[in-house]
Symmetry: D2
Subunit: 292 residues, 4 copies
Amino acid sequence: MNLSGIIGYPVTPFNHDNKSVDLDKLGVVIDILLEALVDGIAALGSAGEAAYLSEAEWQQVADYTVKHVAGKVPVVIGIAELTTEQAVTYARHAHSIGADMIMLSPFSYYKLSEDEIFRHYETVSNATPLPIMIYNNPATCGVDMSPEFMLSMVANIPNACMIKESTGDIQRMHKIFTLSDGKVPFFNGCNHMALEALNAGASGWCTAAPCLIGDQPKQLFEAVKEGKNETARELFYQQYAFLEFIVTSGLAAAVKSGLALQGVSVGAPRRPLLPLGEPAQKRLNAMLTDLT
Amino acid sequence: MNLSGIIGYPVTPFNHDNKSVDLDKLGVVIDILLEALVDGIAALGSAGEAAYLSEAEWQQVADYTVKHVAGKVPVVIGIAELTTEQAVTYARHAHSIGADMIMLSPFSYYKLSEDEIFRHYETVSNATPLPIMIYNNPATCGVDMSPEFMLSMVANIPNACMIKESTGDIQRMHKIFTLSDGKVPFFNGCNHMALEALNAGASGWCTAAPCLIGDQPKQLFEAVKEGKNETARELFYQQYAFLEFIVTSGLAAAVKSGLALQGVSVGAPRRPLLPLGEPAQKRLNAMLTDLT
Amino acid sequence: MNLSGIIGYPVTPFNHDNKSVDLDKLGVVIDILLEALVDGIAALGSAGEAAYLSEAEWQQVADYTVKHVAGKVPVVIGIAELTTEQAVTYARHAHSIGADMIMLSPFSYYKLSEDEIFRHYETVSNATPLPIMIYNNPATCGVDMSPEFMLSMVANIPNACMIKESTGDIQRMHKIFTLSDGKVPFFNGCNHMALEALNAGASGWCTAAPCLIGDQPKQLFEAVKEGKNETARELFYQQYAFLEFIVTSGLAAAVKSGLALQGVSVGAPRRPLLPLGEPAQKRLNAMLTDLT
Amino acid sequence: MNLSGIIGYPVTPFNHDNKSVDLDKLGVVIDILLEALVDGIAALGSAGEAAYLSEAEWQQVADYTVKHVAGKVPVVIGIAELTTEQAVTYARHAHSIGADMIMLSPFSYYKLSEDEIFRHYETVSNATPLPIMIYNNPATCGVDMSPEFMLSMVANIPNACMIKESTGDIQRMHKIFTLSDGKVPFFNGCNHMALEALNAGASGWCTAAPCLIGDQPKQLFEAVKEGKNETARELFYQQYAFLEFIVTSGLAAAVKSGLALQGVSVGAPRRPLLPLGEPAQKRLNAMLTDLT
């Protein structure tokens, strides 16, 4: 599997009462991402509020996404479950519906040892033939995996073949690159470090930003690849305040508010998450007006 | 509701295949706690692996605990759910079965703002008349609540009336005490800081330790209350290595291994959690031999 | 050497232009500490702005302190120098003037390895027969020494015989106590954790508080020793806001402002340190009025 | 003053007994830097062990450096003193000898407030007409200055005109760039983040690496400027292990050991700093053999 470029993250739209998924709107969001020239779609990531969905809803979103994307770009399914058993169930489901890859992160209540995490990945890997992107995001998942440890999983777990790094520490990417001689693909999951991640050798950038700002992330990706450094820097700094904003405001809440501002009503995030307050919405609106 | 002293935390025993709760064994564990002279039983806390149970299992454990304790001591039900809706469902269930109190913590994927946390507590409070112990444990729940914020919830949310503090930072307790003029009861949730928490004015100590070392926590509690400082210090340091061990090894894994060593087989923790490895079991066995 | 109880820390008074030490005023401050029933005097610690003195001033303060205390209580001389050579020079000076002990901390620009720190202590120890209190205060000195490492210095460096712990982490004291079977004396250097440190077995409390609040720290020390827990807690919480204030406001600035408020003018701290601003002075004044 | 590119940092050679500066060897080191095509020389930085020099030695090094560089490139003099008075003395000296700029950082024993830091910079600025590079390096200096605060000093203190950022957090550079509309020049002080800093808009890179690996840092600088991204990435990863090594091993010790391995004996760093041990020297030797 040869994934690179911009991997777009749809939010999960809800109906008015917040109690069910609005699949039609999910289709609209996916179409927005495709028009933004994303190179892949990753459903059920952080932006997709996967942690807040029931099992039935989770499966609905997975099924609908694969069907709606219809092979135009690869579909990655995010899995971040508290129990290994549930992660296996979801992985099998992803495989059964024809997803191309899973993005697997530990999600912890108790802190997990490397041994526990390794077996978690191994067990999920054994359950399906799908390639696995190892996803490190301690801020949401409560577990931090070192580059060394993730590379040992890539070396020893058959389907584990790429890494998504979201700590925001550029040194992690340096380590992944140098320790693997540049051979293990890694993706950037920290929006406001995209410029540097791409310069440091990231294969791509996982982001919900194209939900709101079209192909500007793709343009940045291409400027870096083409060595247009001034252009890349300019593009990055144009997007910077926006990228930082959606990360620090809570991705789902920020993107959903932004879509509403742009006329695509996708409902609120699920409680306890709250929509952006007035002042934050105004700030976001100003940024979107500048950018689009 | 007047809770003080030692609040005992049972683990949740599983059957061999790890796929269902062993309720008889749960009864055995609860009896061990009662014989250890605990002043309350808190089901479905961290030690009880609540995060790893299905909804049906969660309810089984809650129901069985209330029935088995049968009013001998108050029963507290832990609730740490990702969505407010699920927390409300569980709170109502706890009330319906006659539990005495709920211990409520936010559990986050996305970092939560104080506004989001406040509404979470408020919504749960509105759902039942049960008293609420606000539980702060950033290491497991991913959210850290300041003393100031928790006290503002006690002041403004009708059922919120006590605090359990598990950060291990004694200054938090100083703040709770001084900011509330000693009027808001707080409990210690950091096992290896029990001596100091009790000296700093904690109403009690929430702990799974009595599952393994009988009434020694209760003896420590009483020594502090009686001003027997040398005795208290001696009792604390006797237990210290053990208390630190169960915290740093993962409470559920450590207590389950300890019970097995003492002849009470309660199964393994649920994957990805693993039982203690050989060397850790040996260390635990040595400590338990010294202590019991 | 048998040191225990309250070790009082004088500030270093400066003349108006801030360019020389006011030795007469230093005598006044030392007398205030002696009237507060301190069990030892520690000159040239953090409170004494040792880091901001010239070599000549440092020696003046050391000499005057030993002479003025005149054997009424032991005198400890603080040494926190960037180079080993300077630390040795100061240690020899302390010995030559009849000080009873040195309190030695590493002070770093570059982070120091344990090997570097060990040799620093060893070299200073070899320079004089004075007992050495190992002082750990990462917040000011930029180096954090673990309990295990400090105990290894006590075991292997002839004059190293006690520890002053100022991290504010009560677990460090638990470790020192348990790893040394209670045999290595340790002192508390974190004012607003005094109650717990004493309960955890600290031999004493190193503090500048008696410069401003008389024998109240000594009363707290004695209440804990006598098992009067309610009294101890009450005394501690009475002092708590004040103790936290002087730590978080900068010890030298806070104590100097406090002395001025009490009619003992000792000059400003040395630049870049600034005296307390108006609002902080008012807060301090209110606390001192309550306490004295 | 228009500074950009590679600012080279000489170490300070000592004579055998470590008790005096070896000025001839300092000349050799400066020549090595000039041959490595540095665009400026910064004496008395971290690499120069400024914190461990006496006042007389400090002045010798400053004087000799200005004379020896003889206008070939600008000379920056580092000042990181505990007292404002001493910083002023050094700034005046730097001006009197014809240095081109000072690089000023706070160095703290007590944590400093922004007000204290501001006045420190302001007072030094008022003492001479030399341009000031604000230097933020919390790891050595114990004080962390935010981008917002440093920019406020640039705006309000006449001579403060550039920033050197050494936290290793790329977001700091994003903030400096965006908050100043790219108008305040900033330099990278974190060796193993050089690639990203330059891509993010840094005017240059402050580094002791050219003492050991010639013009390779300069080549990296130029590759980025010319948009040769593949080359830049390749050059960076070639140097990466070495750059990380000299930072994590202690800059002065590592560079001095490296110079000795290359036949330029500059003595040991000053105690408590120790030279690299055997295994570290071997690792360094292997890296240098690969790189040179």
